[in-house]
Amino acid sequence: MADIAAPSSIAGTGDSRSSLHKLMQRKSTVAFLMALPLILLITILVAYPAGYAVYLATLNKGMTRFVGFGNFTFLFGRDTFWLVVYQSCLFAITAVIFKALIGFVVAHFVHNIPSKGQRKWRGMLLVPWVIPPAMSTLAWLWLFDPSYSAINYLLQPLGIDRIPWTGEAGWARFSVILVNVWIGSPFFMIMYLAALKSVPEQLYEAAAIDGATWWQRIWYVTLPMMRNIIAITALFSLIVTFANFDIVRVLTAGGPLNSTHIFGTWAFRVGIEGGDIPLGASVSLFMVPILAVAAAFILRDITKRGSEV
């Protein structure tokens, strides 16, 4: 009885201090405090700039007057804007599909390498992903050089004429996608490899006894078991690819004639280089609704199936 009576007498002397003490003991408080550094970081680096971009997007070019949706209606009327929308989707979707395909195939090869040599191969295959993209894109820029580059030099003996890798709309789009695939595939490879390793070996044995061929094993066992990883990786990569800046900026700077501009690079061109910061902010904001829809679809599918597997 004595030790129950004691705290109440202390509480009487210092009410505010004991309630603070109680607050500190609550689990939710501790959890909040532990998450606080991250919350601050996100507020400063994500929430504030995003809010500021929304604010900027409502101003006129001189940033002196509130224009509401004026910047957006202006954008809708411009052909270049719709070209950028088309190119961004083309760039992101094509690149993600190829990254996923190549990643899947390579992951299978690496998975089948005996574990002794596997580390070496994994390390080497990760190199494109580890090099800073601006640096490796610079190397690709030299490889693509129409007059002196290695690629055209190698193609010449095959009777193929010099290809204007970055100088002609179709080839330029091909080139930026190629470089993006080259840089991004290792990420898919490593994610799929992890997923492959987590598929129990006995499922394959059961499938082998059930009479599944190699292809049927992939179709009926591997792919269904990897579906969630495939979806999450694709979503993540879609966001990053959609918001890409460095590869396009270094390789083509959006050219020739805006034919490789995507949201990020065009926002930079309009906002920073063109001096119309509110319009640039409006362009960059267009990524949000498009990606939100994609994310909602894919994540809904995952939560739906997450409870089954």
Binding site: Q202, E205, A208, I209, D210, G211, A212, E308
Partner: protein, 366 residues
């Protein structure tokens, strides 16, 4: 007809011999259990029959055809795995019908066979569920259903009950036996649990260190083991092994266990054991049930002796008593009402009519 024949089967992993040349003839419709401690090669043998492991030497024949290089799907076998290996993204019906679907069996035929198997296993109401929504015992049934549906020549079970709790294990054991009585298919069953082996098998194959120690019916193995390993492995609590010597005194053959304790050899065994007189490394094998409390009436070959009891373990229907004799810990099974008390002397009775004399050097039962 689906007899399974193994001839000089060898399995080598790098330089390690996991299976060292075994011969086994499994008769059509027989239930064979491979039993042994972990690492004895029993699972490897099963997986070689399934075709999941290549064989390094020898021949495997199923139904008279050598299947050494035949892939698993063409061997006409079905396997039940330890962790069931159900496809998590398919429901029970899809899991059971998957093999038939791959074989392009007509839909109504698949439906008929799945429903029939579901009925045998009493899982009809589970057909729409995903494996995650099932209990361990239900998953086990589904795994068996998947095997039954395919109507294979041979069933292979790889420790199918190890992941279940003790009570469910006993229940499923009976279930498996019932299923085998209904669906009489040649079955090879691997387990490390000798009770499972004894209760399920038509014949038990005891394996040790990559070799077959003994093949026989459960009763054969229990009453007439041919090696010390089998004698010790089969039966729980295990057989007692007591170091002993054989001595000839006044025309009679005696087993001497200690300075004070010796028993006469049963009359029907004297001729068999005479050559062992004076040899070292002899061990007396006596099952716990052959060491009991003393009774007023004495049968032939029963001998009373006094012992200081170390530990008493009441089991309900019987009480286990432990004592030390000739440096070995010995277990006896006495009546719960016999009044066994730890650290007190007790009058026990050894029944030598079921004794085994073992040469500890060769490990053979003499």
């Amino acid at each position: 007809m689906a007899q399974v024949t193994l001839r000089k089967i060898i399995k080598k992993y790098d330089e390690v011999l996991a299976v060292r040349g075994i011969d086994l003839d499994i008769v059509d419709k027989e239930f064979i259990v491979l039993v042994g401690p972990s690492g004895c090669g029993k699972s490897t043998t099963l997986r070689m029959i399934a075709g999941l492991e290549e064989i390094s030497g020898g021949d495997i024949a199923i139904g008279g055809h050598v299947v050494n290089d035949v892939p698993p799907k063409d061997r006409d076998i079905a396997m039940v795995f330890q962790n069931y290996a159900l496809y998590p993204h398919m429901n029970v019906y899809e899991n059971m019908s998957f093999g038939l679907k791959l074989k392009k069996t007509p839909k109504d035929e698949i439906d008929r066979r799945v429903k029939q198997a579901a009925q045998i296993l009493d899982i009809t109401e589970l057909l729409d569920r995903k494996p995650k929504q099932l209990s361990g015992g239900q998953r086990q049934r589904v795994a068996m259903g998947r095997a039954i549906v395919r109507d294979p020549k041979v069933f292979l079970f790889d420790e199918p009950l190890s992941n279940l709790d003790a009570k469910l294990r006993v229940q499923m054991r009976t279930e498996i036996k019932k299923v085998h009585q209904k669906v009489r298919t040649t079955t090879v069953y691997v387990t490390h649990d000798q009770v499972e082996a004894m209760t399920l098998a038509d014949r038990v194959v005891v394996m040790n260190a990559g070799l077959i120690e003994q093949v026989g019916t459960p009763n054969d193995l229990y009453h007439s083991p041919i090696t010390k390993f089998v004698a010790g492995f089969i039966g729980s609590p295990a057989m007692n092994f007591i170091p002993c010597q054989l001595e000839q005194a006044a025309g009679a053959l005696n087993i001497r266990l200690s300075d004070k304790l010796s028993f006469p050899v049963p009359a029907d065994r004297t001729a068999r054991y005479t050559s062992q007189v004076g040899k070292a490394n002899l061990v007396l094998g006596l099952r716990p049930e052959h060491i009991a409390e003393t009774r007023p009436h004495t049968e032939p070959n029963q001998h009373d002796f006094d012992m200081m009891i170390d530990v008493v373990e009441p089991m309900g229907m019987e009480t286990l008593v432990y004592f030390t004799l000739a440096g070995a810990e010995i277990c006896g099974r006495v009546n719960p009402n016999a009044g066994a008390v730890a650290m007190q002397s007790m009058k026990l009775r050894a029944d030598l009519s079921n004794m085994h004399l073992i040469d500890d050097g060769t490990g053979k039962v003499l």
